[in-house]
Amino acid sequence: MTAMTKEVSETVDAGAPVPRSSRSAPTSAPVVNPTAALTAATRIKIQDVNAFYGEKQALFGVNLEVPDNAITAFIGASGCGKSTLLRCLNRMNDTIPGARVEGRILMDGTDINGQEIDPVQVRTRIGMVFQKPNPFPISIYENIAYGPRTHKLTSSKAELDDLVERSLRRAALWDEVKDRLGKPGLGLSGGQQQRLVIARALAVSPAVILMDEPCSALDPIATAHIEALLDELRKHTCIVIVTHSMAQAARVSQITAFFHMGKLIESGPTDQIFTMPKVEQTHDYITGRFG
């Protein structure tokens, strides 16, 4: 654990990313070849997306490709539109009165931003984890079972039990809660609650998981657990994470996209963004000149 925290503080102090090869998760998982992410297939293609809240425009002509089996980080100052874009990906903006999203968001060839697409179906394929952990005020088991029950993914109790266990294992929470599945989800610690929520999202086997600053309400140790978990998850799932911590983006992501005032300024492999940014604005943000 001290090795991890030492690395975290080194990253924060130096302002420069720690070389990948010396990064290690607490569970010492093998490090993935960074360049492999770049050759992975594109999962989501964002084309000319503009977003409005009533009269106010929040996103201006965003074009971005999000690769599969990788973590893509959206970074930028507060109010730059990164959360808005995230919410476009699972049609959460539909729930905000007066919100309007133009442009195409292609997944598996289908424009999920299309008028004829049912947002509910989109959300079964693209899950979301929020900043503040939000388990329902019911038991741990029931929390995980909510998605499968709603979408009738299992046909027997045994199958559901199985699915709950698998989801909790994938979220690295099973060992800690396997003896108290009937206890309220809200009785867990912050970090555990967030893993519970991740397990809940995983239970419906989404292709993509969106995360809106998932660690900002957690302490550093819980954060480290979640980041290790993300590294595991991305092997099978596409992950998009919004983060206000550049250090986190540098630590976990393969692709980084930098936003400013609703525009995508620059995107590319994380290494490149943090060591040799092409746009001056990116450089200024990275080095802390603003934001």
């Binding site: 729930t95 959300r123 979301m128 939000n134 329902f136 909510y146 998605g147 709603t150 009785g187």
Partner: protein, 290 residues
């Protein structure tokens, strides 16, 4: 440190005095409230306990000297209050859910909210007159059903208001989480929001029941009361408040004594319901926190 001048000191003293006097007055006001509660409860119990015997519950209302009780009135009240709650509470809940989850800040919802608040405090005697005109006069007679209907109209706005207030307290995070998992609007409400608010809604219903259990005026115009035993909803039906009303002003000591006992019973019932509702909210809320 500069010494206070005599004038300043006097002023300071006056201000402190004023503060103390006012605080004292406020405490006296609280004392008045407590004394009143004590006086009323004491009067109820000292007059009502004496008449509390089994025959009150087993015998129907009867002529003085015939060992009458209040059985038919108690049963009639239970029936009308129960039916009134069964009609008014679900309707009120639906209104509350509408206001909090669907209508929210829309113009129509604002109007519904406004009208509901008016109905909440509307004189119950007018509700009685209204139901008389629509359910008694046209049908040709007073009925227990009309009584239940008038009680339902009183309960409905109470449940609507408490339901909306409670639903608004449910964190938006729960709804977001359910939506993000691919739930439809009605699923979010049915499976996440309503269960989370359950204890609060129950409290509101209990409070509404407590309120209508004590209502007399609307029943005067709708179910009229009945001195005989009857559970027929299409006929006039006895109720405890009306029995008390008829007996209290009568010249027969037996009847007056029964009126006191009946008043004591109603008050105890209402107070117990109030206290129960308080505990139900605390108990269920405690469970979900683990």
């Amino acid at each position: 440190m500069k010494e206070l001048s005599p004038a300043s000191r006097a002023r300071y003293f006056r201000r402190q005095l004023l503060d103390r006097v006012m605080s004292g007055l406020c405490m006296a006001a609280a004392g008045v409230g407590l004394v009143l509660l004590g006086l009323i409860l004491w009067m109820l119990f000292s007059n009502g306990i004496g008449g509390l015997k089994l025959s009150v519950f087993t015998n129907s209302m009867a002529q003085p000297g015939a060992d009458g009780g209040l059985a038919n009135a108690i049963v009639g009240s239970l029936i009308q209050v129960g039916l009134g709650a069964m009609i008014g509470a679900p309707l009120g809940m639906m209104v509350g859910v509408y206001l909090s989850e669907v209508g929210k800040e829309s113009k129509f919802a604002s109007v519904v909210r406004f009208v509901n608040d008016i109905l909440l405090s509307a004189p119950s005697v007018l509700i009685g007159l209204f139901v008389y005109q629509i359910a008694v006069a046209p049908m040709g007679g007073f009925s227990g059903f009309a009584g239940a209907l008038s009680l339902a109209l009183i309960a409905m706005p109470i449940v609507a208001r408490t339901t909306e207030d409670i639903l608004r307290l449910v964190p938006q995070a729960y709804r977001d989480g359910a939506v993000a998992l691919g739930s439809r609007e009605n699923e979010v409400v049915r499976k996440v929001v309503l269960p989370a608010a359950f204890s609060g809604i129950l409290t509101g219903v209990l409070l509404a029941v407590a309120r209508i259990a004590g209502e007399t005026a609307p029943l005067l115009f709708t179910s009229l009361g009945n001195t005989n035993w009857s559970t027929d909803l299409t006929q006039p039906m006895a109720s405890l408040p009306i029995a008390i009303y008829r007996y209290a002003g009568s010249p027969y000591p037996e009847w007056v004594s029964l009126a006191w006992t009946g008043a004591m019973l109603i008050t105890v019932g209402v107070l117990v319901l109030n206290i129960l509702s308080r505990f139900s909210h605390a108990a269920v809320a405690g469970k979900s926190q683990g």
